[in-house]
């Protein structure tokens, strides 16, 4: 079994692409750092007791007046930038993953129903998808976020803000899944195994989710990998605009927003390092997604 896996095309194409291996290592490192952030990070940026305002705005360690303990410098509160980045990518990855998964669940369900039921339900769902597709995702996410703020009269509790941003990003991204799954469902629903299931009287929902869904899931996996990077960018944009995750639990976008205010007084490291971390993380995820798409697509071999 293991030998077969190692000899597979997937592993072969992986081992012959140094860029892909590097990206995989970066993503792996980011995930490990995110999961074990409290143990990996040299400081805890949220523990007020350990913060020392005297250390505020320390430049990176290699600068003339930098300190060894703060490798990438500190911000205006004396928080270690490196630790903030580790905790920030934890938040970015968490929101990106949750939003992508929620988006997938919504899109796959609607696509299955549209494709399987057909008729007016199909027309309604796909028209909504068409309309939404003619607006950029960022606008939809901003709108959902704005409505949520209005409903809760402007103050969002920290935990609530997290759910709101996940829902906002998910609402902006479900269409791709619905379209793909609807396409495969239209093909699958006339197959014999589906007819057989119908004949023996299984419930339509059971047919959809236990018989049709597994056969329509292949392309969805590729969409997911490509969507995660996009969701992380959308989250960083919303947080940068100040309508994203709560400021008490900053993501990379929030850190960039905070650092942006110090650009002119010369403290460039507060914003440049989180920015670089975001670019490297998203680039690595996108390279992996591209590779997976090509490797799983037999037509491109």
């Amino acid at each position: 079994m293991a030998a077969r896996w190692i000899e597979s095309d997937l592993v072969w194409s992986f081992r012959h692409r140094p860029g892909v291996i590097l990206s995989a290592l970066i993503v792996l490192a980011a995930v490990v750092a995110a999961v074990f952030a409290p143990w990996v990070a040299p400081h805890n940026p949220f523990d007020l007791a350990t913060l020392n305002l005297g250390d505020a705005l320390t430049p990176p360690a290699w600068a003339s007046n930098g300190q060894r303990t703060y490798l990438l410098g500190t911000d205006d509160q004396g928080r270690d930038v490196l630790s903030a980045i580790i905790f920030g990518s934890r938040m970015s990855l968490l929101v990106g993953l949750l939003a992508t998964l929620l988006s997938m669940v919504i899109g796959v369900s609607l696509g299955l129903v549209a494709g399987y039921v057909g008729g007016k339900v199909d027309a309604l769902i796909m028209r909504i998808a068409d309309i939404q597709l003619s607006f950029p995702a960022i606008l939809i996410a901003l709108l959902v976020d704005g409505v949520a703020r209005a409903v809760f009269k402007g103050h969002l509790e920290d935990n609530l803000a997290l759910y709101v941003i996940v829902i906002a990003i998910a609402a902006s991204g479900w269409v791709r899944y619905a379209r793909t799954v609807r396409g495969s469902t239209l093909v699958e629903r006339n197959r014999e195994y589906v007819q057989a299931a119908r004949v023996i009287g299984r419930h339509p929902l059971a047919i959809m989710f236990t018989h049709v869904l597994p056969n329509a899931l292949g392309p969805v996996l590729v969409l997911v990998t490509l969507h995660i990077g996009e969701a992380i960018i959308t989250e960083s944009i919303l947080s940068f605009l100040g309508v994203g995750v709560p400021p008490t639990q900053p993501s990379l976008g929030t850190l960039i927003r905070i650092g942006n205010d110090f650009l002119f007084s010369g403290e460039w490291w507060i914003t440049v390092f989180p920015g670089a971390a975001l670019v490297i993380l998203v680039l690595a995820i996108n390279v992996l997604g591209d590779w997976l798409r090509d490797a799983l697509n037999p037509r491109l071999r």
Partner: protein, 327 residues
């Protein structure tokens, strides 16, 4: 032909009605206007009087009809945060955003087309490889980071260009323009590059692939056989034929440019509609959000409609099926 145009027009109207309905629902169900306008100690009788005065006691469809009529007259109520009519605020901010979007699209074409031609003609040179790779990196870069890095380099370190605002503007009737003053032109450079970065990569890749396609066609081979110069073949025969898809894609991108102007305007504190909208989202200022939504919806629907009709005119093969809009 007429049936097609009518059907597309009908679709556009339906989409606008849906957008209008969402905006209407925002106004009426999300923020309770009565609670917003009356002091907390108001009695039930006061509330009922206010409801009657605002017409909120009328049936749902009658209210929606009034809303649509008002919207068609450009009346979106009064901003909760700024206390001024929303239409005035939008008219003030519109020129800044449109100028920025226009300059960004221009930047995308002026830089993207030559790069696309170069990468198509010199396919194997290292410069082409570098350009293509960096365009991939560019797509992974969120647009606010490009803006921040540009500010850091050109405004903070080199001090060549301003990093925020529009500079001096000239009033031409209701329109204000920053394109006629030196400080206004200097101020628009960095935001336009930031916003135009994504269109550059799109145009470059599109021109490249279209050029490669066209250079393989029989009429280009024939032109070579006739002994025409490379220059004449490349620019007269080949490039000309790539322009139809390029212009349509840039047209479709215009909507995206206006949406992403929200981010660019925040980075550069550019006094446009996007900045107005993002402040409205932060303060839950529903009338501005609704009006912005309707306006952007109108811009998007118009662009899609024009592109569809242009396809219809330009390419008889696409009479029904339309190339799906890039997200």
């Amino acid at each position: 032909m007429i049936a097609f145009v009518l059907r597309r027009l009908l679709q556009a109207v339906v989409v606008m009605l849906v957008v209008g309905f969402i905006a209407f629902a925002l106004f009426n169900f999300v923020g309770d206007p009565v609670a917003l306008m009356l002091p907390p100690e108001a009695t039930q009788a006061d509330r009922d009087a206010m409801r009657a005065m605002l017409g909120l006691d009328r049936p749902f469809w009658a209210q929606f009809a009034t809303f649509i009529t008002n919207a068609l007259h450009g009346n979106f109520g009064i901003s909760l945060r700024l206390g001024r009519p929303v239409s005035d605020l939008i008219v003030e901010r519109l020129p800044a955003t449109l100028e920025l979007a226009f300059m960004a699209a221009l930047f995308g074409l002026v830089v993207g087309i030559p790069l696309g031609v170069y990468t198509a003609l010199r396919r194997d040179s290292w410069v082409s490889q570098l350009l293509l790779t960096s365009s991939l990196v560019g797509v992974s870069l969120p647009n606010f980071l490009i803006g921040i890095f540009l500010i850091l380099i050109f405004a903070v370190w080199l001090g060549w260009l301003p990093s925020f605002g529009r500079g001096d503007v000239v009033h031409l009737g209701a329109w204000t323009t920053g394109l006629l003053t030196v400080s206004g032109l200097k101020a628009i450079i960095l935001p336009a590059i930031t916003l135009g970065f994504y269109p550059v990569t799109i145009v470059m890749r599109l021109v490249r692939s279209e050029m490669l396609e066209v250079l393989r066609t029989d009429y280009v081979k024939f032109a070579r056989a006739r002994g025409l110069t490379d220059r004449s073949i490349h620019f007269h025969h080949a490039l000309k034929n790539t322009m139809v898809p390029v212009i349509t894609i840039v047209g479709l991108q215009l909507g995206g440019i206006i949406a992403f102007a929200i981010v660019t305007e925040t980075v550069f504190q550019w006094p446009g509609m996007g900045l107005l909208f993002i402040q409205a989202v932060q303060f839950a200022d529903i009338p501005i959000m609704g009006a912005y939504l309707c306006l952007v919806g109108l811009i998007f629907v118009t662009i899609n409609l024009v592109v569809d009709l242009l396809y219809f005119v330009v390419d008889p093969r696409l009479r029904v099926e339309r190339v799906a809009a890039a997200h």
